[in-house]
């Protein structure tokens, strides 16, 4: 016999008992057959039951047997109260699932190391300093020549790697008519060897791909892309792909685990940095610098050295900036180099969502605590109603630890059941939330494996939850005094203090959740109800590029063609749609030196104002002979900023470019302010210039890209997308359609994070409120049940309904108020940490506190009502006769 058999026997106890009895029976039979006195033989066995127990204990694992018995008993207890079990289980499951989802996302984005060699020594360079508007920000973009200098200087101490910001772009494997999109990242050739990555197929880049600009038209595709796009076709090597105006040859497939350096984006195609058209530009910052620092190299001297090199580079460059104000030059040089850890990779998503995800995590944790408090109260109530059973167990010799085990096993079963359901919820919810993070046509892709990290978190959480709601009731049940319990009397109040404490805690947490939800919802509403300055409805945007540039006539011909499409009312052209791009320049009025404030520019066609439904305050719209330099229409804020509010019509200003060239514009119109690039930023001074650009000799500069804006009526704008796409390329094959979207989408994209936060917070606020109300109802109902007799007597001696209501509800409302006060304090204390997530909402505004308080109070009243009614309806004659 082995451990295994002992385990088996623990679960098949009946069979074991039967076998032991059978053996004893055979013994007795033999003895009698041998001529012994049957009575004497039977007596020799003494207490057969005790003997059986002894033999049994030898042959099974006792604690396992006890545990099994407790499980069976606990299961019966849970089944006995199906509805409460289901309610408790579901609320816990939702909370556990939400916490696990939050963990999965946070882990994937911030804690999971990149699957590369030396991830623990991987860092990213960044510079901290004031931005255009003077606010302190961290910049992690660099120009390639700057990177090249730093890489050379750091040799021996750190291996620096350039990795461009991964972006989604058009590419084709065949003809231009079959454009598709993919995520492309330019990386140093040394990245793959430094990261210790091995190709799945072909070869990866090496240091040799890092030397001559434009000499290595090769592409490495990621394993993920290879599976998705090529179904793991081994013949993919040697195929060519057209990206921009270059042709790349696929030379390898990366390792399965590596999806790029930016959590949130799966890179499809890696290209060598040398193939980026901007690799020699000193003025364009388009890459991040990652670095693996050698183990014994101190960071500070390295940082100081890189800081000096970068500053030197920027200072050299700034010498040519005669067209920039001295103040702005100084600001741009006030940047301090930082070395930040990048073990988990670096992405914009991390920066944008760090706080939002942490606060969502806090919210779901609070909901979990509320759910735990509910279940704890439920278990306490049940433990109290099982007082006699517990007392009986103690009387016949059960130890305290056995009773604790009994109750804890029941809690653990509930927690496990909930965890299993929660796991299903998390399996669905985490990817769902991630898919909501970015614009719908370009969702975030996070690798969310369900591996040991998630499993460990889930198990720990389940254990914590079990102890959280199960330990107190278990200890209380075990501390029972059989004498008092069996007599039927109980200490009346002392035991329920913990229930009321839990109610207060629940209310406090619920208040915090409601408060935050209120803040997030107010933020979203404020953001989405902001005046845009234009009408975004029914506006389709067709973004096009014309690789070799097209003269103004082609653009207006294309606009005319589009205007003829049924359902299209109006067509205009702009460099890009509002809320999607930017173009800045210093402004000089009366040939003065350039100002510290920037002007923000957009090229538009005649009629654009009309299409956008923006009205002229003064002056006129552009006509087809207007040009840039030449004429300009400016916004009201521009007038305020640069003309001190004086009527600028007919006056001129110059756009001053960094290297000193100046472009003269005469103001011909003023329009109201419109949002330029972001709903989050203050209104900017904007200049609208004609799309007809002239070069320094006055010749036309053919535009190589632009967006057609179509105002539609009576149809769903996007239903036209395919037709329009085809029509554009058919009308003039020189045009390529990059994207078709609506202006409304661009507006919505501005508040994705806020919408996500608001909707998730609102959902959990509703859950928290429901749970707290259920908890309140449960405790109140329970206390009425326990005091039925007392209430009956009070009614019999003439108590009024008001008295009874006060008697029943007083204590609980004290708890509610204490909880609400604690919640307010907690909310006020933590609100400054969420302030960066808020927009146009002051966290400490009284209205933000009153709303959740009112909601909570009405929920509490509603939850208290049934119990009070029940108490008031007690019929003393029935009640007092019953017992």
């Amino acid at each position: 016999m082995s451990l295994w058999s002992r385990i088996i026997y623990a679960f098949r106890g009946d069979r074991l008992n039967h076998e032991i009895d059978e053996e004893f029976a055979a013994h007795i039979e033999e003895a009698i057959a041998a001529g012994n006195d049957p009575a004497e033989v039977r007596r020799s066995f003494g207490s057969q039951l005790r003997l059986r127990e002894q033999s049994r204990d030898a042959r099974i694992i006792v604690w396992l047997d006890c545990l099994r018995a407790d499980f069976v008993f606990g299961w019966r207890q849970l089944l006995k109260r199906k509805i409460t079990t289901a309610a408790a289980g579901l609320s816990l499951a939702l909370a556990i699932g939400a916490c696990t989802s939050a963990f999965r996302i946070i882990d994937a984005l911030f804690f999971r190391p990149l699957p590369v060699a030396h991830a623990d020594r991987l860092y990213v360079l960044a510079r901290q300093g004031p931005d255009d508007l003077g606010a302190l920000r961290t910049f992690d973009d660099f120009a390639y020549p700057n990177f090249a200098r730093m890489r050379a200087a750091a040799k021996g101490q750190a291996e620096l790697i350039a990795a461009s910001f991964t972006y989604r772009t058009d590419l084709t494997y065949a003809t231009d008519n079959e454009m598709e999109k993919a995520y492309v990242q330019y990386v140093s050739g040394t990245m793959f060897p430094i990261f210790g990555l091995k190709p799945t197929l072909g070869r990866l880049f090496t240091a040799d791909d890092d030397i001559i600009p434009g000499a290595n038209p090769y592409a490495v595709i990621s394993y993920n892309y290879w599976s998705r796009r090529f179904a793991k076709d081994p013949h993919v090597l040697g195929r060519t792909v057209h990206i921009g105006n270059k042709i790349f040859q696929i030379i390898g497939v990366g390792p399965k685990s590596f999806t790029g350096t930016e959590p949130g984006i799966i890179t499809d195609i890696f290209l060598p940095t040398m193939m980026n058209p901007d690799v020699t530009r000193t003025d364009l910052s388009w890459l991040r610098i990652l670095g693996v620092i050698n183990p014994d190299v101190p960071h500070e001297p390295l940082r100081a050295m890189l800081d000096a090199i970068s500053l030197n580079y920027e200072t050299e460059r700034a010498r040519g900036f005669v067209g920039m104000s001295q103040h702005n030059i100084e600001m741009s040089l006030q940047k301090k180099m930082l070395i930040k850890t990048a073990a988990t990779g670096v992405s914009r998503l991390q920066g944008d969502y760090r706080r939002a995800l942490v606060w969502l995590g806090v919210l779901v944790a609070l909901v979990l605590l509320i759910a735990c408090a509910n279940v704890a109260n439920l278990m306490t109530a049940q433990a109290a109603s099982r007082a006699r059973e517990m007392a009986l167990r103690v009387s016949i010799g059960a130890g305290r630890s056995r009773l604790v085990q009994l109750v804890l096993v029941e809690s653990a079963m509930l927690a496990l059941f909930s965890a299993a359901l929660g796991a299903i919820f998390a399996w669905w919810a985490a990817p769902f939330v991630v898919s909501r993070i970015n614009p719908p046509d370009n969702p975030a892709h996070l690798i969310l494996p369900a591996d040991w990290r998630v499993l460990a978190f889930g198990s720990l959480l389940t254990l914590a939850v079990t102890l959280l709601f199960g330990l107190a009731p278990a200890l209380r049940a075990s501390a029972i005094q059989p004498v008092t319990a069996l007599k039927g009397g109980e200490e009346p109040h002392s035991k329920h203090r913990s229930m009321y404490t839990l109610i207060a805690a629940q209310v406090a947490f619920c208040f915090v959740v409601l408060f935050f939800a209120g803040l997030f919802v107010a933020t979203f509403r404020h953001l989405s109800s902001q005046s845009l300055g234009f009408d975004a409805k029914d506006l389709i945007l067709i973004e096009t590029t014309t690789p070799h540039g097209q003269p103004p006539e082609s653009w207006s011909q294309m606009a005319d063609t589009l205007r003829a499409v049924p359902g299209v009312k109006d067509v205009a052209i702009a460099g890009w749609p509002l809320l999607s791009g930017g173009w800045t320049g210093s402004i000089s009025v009366n040939a003065a030196p350039p100002t510290d404030n920037w002007g923000y520019f957009l090229s538009i066609s005649p009629g654009w104002l009309n299409t956008m439904k923006m009205r002229l305050i003064e002056g006129r719209d552009f006509n087809s002979t207007d040009s840039f330099p030449g004429q300009a229409i400016v916004s009201q804020t521009f007038v305020k900023t640069f003309f001190n509010g004086i009527d600028p019509i007919g006056r001129t200003f110059e756009k001053v470019n960094p290297f000193g060239s100046r472009q003269l514009c005469r103001v011909i119109g003023i329009i109201p302010d419109a949002t330029y690039s972001s709903l989050h930023e203050p209104i900017l001074p904007v200049v609208y210039v004609p799309i007809r650009h002239l070069d320094e000799h006055g010749a036309i500069n053919p535009a190589d890209g632009g967006t057609f804006l179509l105002r539609t009526f009576g149809i769903n704008p996007l239903s036209l997308a395919t037709t329009l796409r085809r029509l554009v390329t058919k009308t003039n094959p020189a045009y390529r359609v990059n994207n078709v979207q609506t202006q409304q989408e661009l507006v919505d994209n501005q508040s994705i994070r806020e919408r996500l936060l608001a909707s998730i917070a609102l959902f959990f606020a509703a859950v928290a409120l429901l749970l707290a109300a259920i908890g309140l109802y449960g405790v109140l109902n329970y206390s009425v049940l326990r005091r039925e007799r007392e209430i009956g007597i009070r009614i019999a001696v003439g108590a009024r309904i008001g008295n009874i209501a006060r008697l029943v509800a007083q204590q609980i409302f004290v708890s509610v108020f204490i909880g609400a006060a604690a919640g307010t304090a907690l909310g006020m204390a933590s609100v400054r940490y969420v302030q960066t997530l808020l927009f146009g909402v002051k966290g400490t505004a009284p209205s933000m506190l009153i709303a959740p308080a009112l909601v909570l109070l009405s929920a509490a009243l509603l939850a208290a009502l049934p119990a009070v009614v029940r108490a008031a309806r007690i019929d003393p004659s029935v009640m007092l006769r019953a017992d």
Binding site: M1, R6, E30
Partner: protein, 109 residues
């Protein structure tokens, strides 16, 4: 008749010894064998014998199997395992050591 208290552990020794002489005995047979061989001096109590048998079975010194008797009844037969044989030798050595030690104490006194 007065009970002869077998010393701690000696019941195991007796059972193992009996089973080494004759394999496949049931509990009652083991009990009577001890009684007969010892000339009615040693008497294994039922209340000690069965827990001891089950314990030794659990430890792996003896092995039990069910054997069919008449009319569908079964009896449980015990026999020594290899480990049991080793244990028996160890127990015998121990017994000799202990008993000779006790003898020496008695002679000295």
């Amino acid at each position: 008749m007065k009970k002869t208290d077998t010393m701690q552990g000696s019941l195991d020794l007796l059972v193992l010894k009996v089973l080494s002489r004759q394999p496949k005995l049931h509990g009652y047979a083991i009990m009577t064998a001890i009684k007969h061989i010892s000339g009615d001096v040693l008497n294994a109590e039922v209340g000690s014998l069965y827990p001891a048998l089950h314990r030794m079975e659990e430890t792996g010194w003896i092995r039990a199997e069910w054997a069919a008797k008449d009319a569908g009844r079964r009896t449980r037969l015990y026999q020594l395992t290899a480990a049991g044989k080793k244990q028996l030798e160890a127990e015998i050595t121990r017994w000799h050591t202990v008993s000779s030690a006790i003898n020496r104490v008695l002679q000295e006194a």
